[in-house]
């Protein structure tokens, strides 16, 4: 009934969809197995993509040729560039999505890929021969053969949903949990753990009084995620609203504490500290008398509302009573209560930098199974796992992104070298090359790589090259265009910047923090005119290059330095135990984590610089 596939992807969430589309587009015969074809690319939690650091990831996915950016652009109902008040390196795109259309668009995108097959059933195990995966077993007892398998099970592995004292098996509200895979993997020698996450109640928007809330509208000039011209910015947008909890809400919530699965110890898994449930917030931060609530529409037309900031697993009657005390929610009707979900994950230190497992060849893990949280984090892992599964089957070199090339590189490197105890979310502070990894230059950083793989299109590459060349041209113009004191001093003064005594270049003036580029350009109408002929993002890019120059250069130097050990490979069979000069702790950590490079080894916590020196000595052998 089935051919032998090159790549089988289990799970059709954000990771699974990116993995399947990447592998299939690259030419692998690919099968996507999902428990329910109607829930492909579900946004299980909030209907939004992007945000700080996460938005950068979506743009990276897009630059490489993944689909999350395009799907988001086509289905968003609001766009905001976060961190506008900070420097350009911090700008982060965020979209409010139409949940149903998002899922539909993903399915349409997948259906348009010729060599991608679908199968609806629960996968209950993998087939392993001689330490290598060679297929998948299903609930009906079918065996589907595949040269590689990507597991993207999300929260479904032995998922348990908690609402107050009630608990039941499930991978998502009203969806079955998946069983069998964890047990088999543990038997094969994998280490597994439990994690917890939660989601807020959904509310009937018709029952809310928005006049008691603050409106949060989208950007006046909205942007988008995809660098391509296949999508366009929004012409109209829907607003979100902000309201706050209060002491009365907190008091009611406290009534439910004794029935809270969080506090009674029924939930064992560790939840994310940065996405706490509302009961956690009032418990841990008792002195705070209110917490922010974002009221987010779930789509263009639906009345369903997502109550961001009110994640909870307290009993549903408590949820209902408490939420009605929030301004604007006095008459709120609930569609469904919030809940907490516990699920299995596999500590990601068991993975290689390709997301292939150390234990079983050609088996890849991506998404929440690796202990991450977030659609963006999942999507980019899926993309990387799909690409690498394809390359492995083709016996080609793996595709790795370094920490200085992409947030994706930071994410995977963090996962495999440090592991994670709580659901891992990306923050800009995790990136040591934050000034290099910007949302405005993901195309320049990655499109060529995506094109080499065969994922990014020729058009995308041409567009990127044009942007790069035009940026370079404008940059060199900046260094040539000069202002005389008479010409520019009035403008400088108006901007609060010191007057000049001698001629100064545009480049030098732009280095001054108070100076605004367009005010200078307005003094040079000819140049301004010439710029309009360039790529639309080139001017901004050139300005960023000048403003951040010192930091860009410094981070590039640090990155190059790091490359010197990131490029030293370690044989996976290397015997750390024989090196008595290493501390026992280091030996064990290295043995367990099996770093692929000396750079990875250096980032394992507890491994010291002198350990790395010692390893260098052995690596040279």
């Amino acid at each position: 009934m089935f051919p032998e596939y090159d790549v089988i992807v289990i799970g059709a969430g954000h990771a699974g969809c990116e993995a399947a589309s990447a592998a299939a587009k690259l030419g692998s015969r690919t099968l996507l197995i999902t428990m329910n074809m109607n829930t492909i690319a579900q946004m299980s939690c909030n209907p939004a993509m992007g945000g700080v650091a996460k938005g950068q990831i979506v743009r990276e996915i897009d630059a490489l040729g993944g689909l999350s950016g395009i799907v988001t652009d086509k289905t968003m109902i609001q766009f905001r560039m976060l961190n506008r008040s900070k420097g350009a390196a911090m700008w982060s795109p965020r979209a409010q999505s139409d949940r149903m259309r998002f899922a539909e668009e993903w399915r349409m995108q997948l259906e348009a890929i010729p060599n991608l097959d679908f199968w609806q059933e629960m996968a209950t195990g993998i087939i392993v021969k001689d330490g290598r995966v060679c297929g998948v077993r299903t609930g009906m007892g079918m065996e589907i053969m595949g040269k590689s398998v990507v597991l993207t099970n999300g929260t479904f592995l032995n998922g348990v949903i908690h609402i107050g004292e009630k608990q039941f098996g499930g991978g998502r509200a009203a969806e079955r949990a998946s069983t069998g895979i964890t047990e088999q993997l543990i038997e094969l020698g994998f280490e597994a753990g439990r994690m917890k996450t939660g989601t807020p109640p959904r509310i009937d928007g018709r029952s809310l009084n928005y006049s008691r809330m603050e409106e949060q509208a989208g950007d006046e000039i909205p942007g988008k995620f995809s660098y391509s011209d296949t999508t366009t910015p929004l012409l109209k947008q829907r607003s979100c609203y902000i309201t706050y909890t209060n002491q009365a809400v907190h008091e009611v919530l406290k009534e439910g504490f004794e029935k809270s699965p969080m506090f009674t110890g029924r939930i064992q898994g560790l939840g994310p500290r940065y996405c706490p449930s509302v009961e956690d917030k009032i418990n841990r931060f008792a002195d705070k008398d209110r917490h922010q609530i974002f009221v987010e529409p779930e789509g263009w037309d639906t009345v369903e509302i997502y109550v961001n900031g009110f994640s909870t697993s307290l009993p549903e009657d408590i949820q209902y009573k408490a939420i009605r005390l929030i301004p604007g929610f006095e008459n709120a009707k609930m569609f469904r209560p919030g809940y907490a979900i516990e699920y299995d994950y596999f500590p990601p230190t068991q993975l290689k930098n390709t997301l292939e497992t150390n234990l079983i060849e050609n088996l890849y893990f991506a998404g929440q199974i690796n202990g991450t949280t977030g659609y963006e984090e999942a999507g980019c892992q899926g993309l990387m796992a799909g690409i690498n599964a394809h390359l492995k089957v083709r016996e080609e070199n793996p595709f790795i992104l370094s920490r200085s090339e992409a947030y994706i590189g930071v994410l995977i490197d963090d996962l495999i070298t440090k592991g994670t105890d709580e659901p891992y979310r990306m923050f800009t502070s995790r990136a040591e090359y934050r000034i290099l990894l910007r949302q405005d230059n993901a195309d320049i950083r990655l499109t060529e790589k995506g094109h080499q793989l065969g994922l990014a299109t020729d058009t995308a590459l041409a567009r990127t090259k044009e942007k790069e060349n035009d940026t370079a041209a404008i940059y060199s113009q900046f260094k040539q265009i000069k202002f005389s004191p008479e010409e520019v001093n009035g403008t400088l003064e108006a901007m609060g910047s010191a007057a000049i005594k001698e001629k100064a270049t545009l480049y030098n003036l732009l280095k001054r923090p108070q100076v605004e580029l367009d005010k200078l350009l307005s003094l040079k109408p000819d140049f301004q005119k010439a710029i309009s002929g360039y790529h639309k993002e080139a001017l901004e890019q050139a300005e960023i290059m000048v403003r951040y120059e010192d930091y860009i250069v410094k981070e590039q130097q640090l990155a190059e330095r790091m490359m010197s050990i990131d490029n030293v490979n370690i044989n996976p069979t290397f015997d750390y135990h024989k090196i008595t000069a290493l501390s026992k702790e280091s030996r064990e950590k290295l043995f367990k984590t099996k770093p692929s490079t000396l750079g990875e080894a250096s980032r394992i916590s507890g491994v010291t610089p002198s350990d790395i020196s010692i390893l260098m000595v052995y690596m040279s052998k």
């Binding site: 700080v52 706490p276 931060f285 040591e432 000034i435 790091m562 010197s564 002198s610």
Partner: protein
């Protein structure tokens, strides 16, 4: 966060001979640009144009002038100990010269070598048998353990405790800044710029103070102040002249001839000693001389070492004890010098008393050696300390620069991300001394203190 490791392309600098006083010391400089880096502080025949295995005489200089007259041995890769381009500088064998030279090298782009680093490079460049890998690994391990121990010993003082406290505060602020960057959407407090400015200034002050505790570094900059004290006509000016080997001070037979504070410098094996001859001490009615006496008392307070000179032919041990008592209160190291011992002695003086005849220039050379020993003992306690000091010094300076930049950014109201960038750099550099800061620690400061997340 940045991880710390030894790059193979850096130019590394280290003392190859044991620390402490010896006739000669050898500073090794190794790395691709080693010769070019030495050239930057070199006065003499151009090193960069020399072939390998050649020796040349010249001078090392820094912004304060000549450091020492040295011999440079040039080795071209791969024919060197490490297999890299290498220079060996043979200087005078004292730690002040060595450290000053090393600091100058670091300033122009070198880096203090870490434990076992030369051996490691030699091995990696194929200079050692592959079968020696294990031995090399053991050396690196042992050296780094020793270096760590030394660093720990040095960090026990109060000032380093203070540094740790301030580092924690800085970490908290770094957390606040990251909070602004990563959670700008949230309802959270922002880092108060005035408090941050205040904290960074505080840390800068401590860093400067810490850097100042590297006595050797100070000595290099200012020289060692030596005060020659003693009763009138004990022979102080004669001694100074004997040391300086020139008729610098006014010498006469009449007690109280020296009316001014005389200062002159003497290089003893490369260390700058500033000799301060003082007006003879005695109760006087002569006003000019009275001024001179007051000034010499003032000088005493600034001295690093006091040479107390007395006329052995007429001073009894009891008289000496009484005279010296006044000086002991200053808490400075005192060397007792029995002058005119050739004319006979008036009793048994305390142990360690040096016997000289300034007039006949007898006992001068041993006195110089004693002086050198005394000064160096104070600042260089144990083996390896100098190297560690230099590395700490390097890190302190780098974190100081980063903090200064962060302060500038706050002043010019540049984006938070650049302030955060400099603070991350400062934390990284401080981390090289106080222990590394990792991302989890930084994120931990955020999540433990702020209710964030939707």
């Amino acid at each position: 966060m940045r991880t710390h490791f030894q790059s193979l392309t850096d130019v590394i600098v280290a003392l190859a001979t044991p620390p402490g006083v010896s006739a000669l010391a050898v500073i090794r400089v190794s790395g691709t640009d080693a010769i070019a880096i030495v050239q930057q502080i070199w006065k003499g025949k151009a090193l960069t144009e020399m072939a390998g295995n050649q020796f040349v005489f010249g001078r090392l200089v820094d912004e304060n002038g000549i450091i020492d007259e040295v011999v440079a041995a040039i080795y071209r890769a791969p024919k060197s100990f490490t297999g890299d381009e290498m220079v060996e500088l043979t200087t005078h064998g004292n730690m002040y010269v060595v450290e000053r030279a090393m600091q100058a090298l670091i300033k122009v782009g070198g880096r203090a070598a870490e434990a076992g680093e030369f051996t490691k490079r030699a091995f990696l460049n194929g200079k050692m048998d592959l079968s020696q890998a294990e031995a090399v690994a053991d050396i690196i391990h042992a050296d780094s353990a020793a270096a760590h121990q030394t660093a720990m010993n040095q960090l026990r003082g109060g000032i380093s405790k203070e540094l740790k406290v301030l580092r924690q505060e800085l970490l908290d602020f770094a957390g606040l800044l990251e909070l602004e960057l990563d959670f700008s959407e949230e309802d959270v407090e922002f880092a108060n710029r005035d408090r941050l400015t205040h904290l960074m200034r505080q840390i800068l002050a401590v860093i400067l103070q810490l850097a100042g505790t590297f006595k050797a570094g100070n000595a290099i900059k200012n020289g060692i102040a030596v005060v020659i004290a003693g009763k009138p006509n004990a022979g102080k000016s004669t001694l100074l002249n004997a040391l300086l080997q020139e008729e610098r001070a006014i010498v006469s037979e009449i007690a109280g001839t020296t009316r001014d504070v005389i200062e002159d410098e003497l290089l003893i094996e490369g260390i700058r000693f500033r000799f301060i001859d003082t007006a003879g001490l005695r109760a006087t009615t002569d006003t000019i001389e009275a001024i001179g006496v007051a000034r010499s008392k003032e000088q005493m307070g600034k001295a690093d070492v006091i040479l107390y000179l007395f006329d052995a032919s007429i001073t009894t041990p009891e008289e000496l004890a009484e005279e010296v008592g006044e000086w002991e209160e200053l808490g400075k190291p005192i060397v007792l010098i029995a002058n005119k011992y050739d004319l006979g002695t008036a009793g048994n003086y305390p142990e360690g008393t040096q016997f000289i005849s300034a007039k006949n220039k007898e006992g001068i050379e041993p006195l110089k050696q004693l002086l050198l020993q005394k000064t160096i003992d104070q600042s260089v306690a144990a083996d390896g300390v100098m190297i560690t000091n230099i590395r700490h010094h390097e890190a302190l300076q780098a974190s100081g620069i980063a903090l200064q930049k962060a302060l500038q950014h706050i002043e010019t109201q540049i984006g938070t991300e650049l302030i955060a960038e400099e603070i991350r750099e400062a934390l990284y550099q401080l981390g090289l001394i106080t222990g590394e800061v990792n991302n989890e620690e930084l994120l931990g400061t955020i999540f433990s203190r702020f209710c964030i997340g939707k």
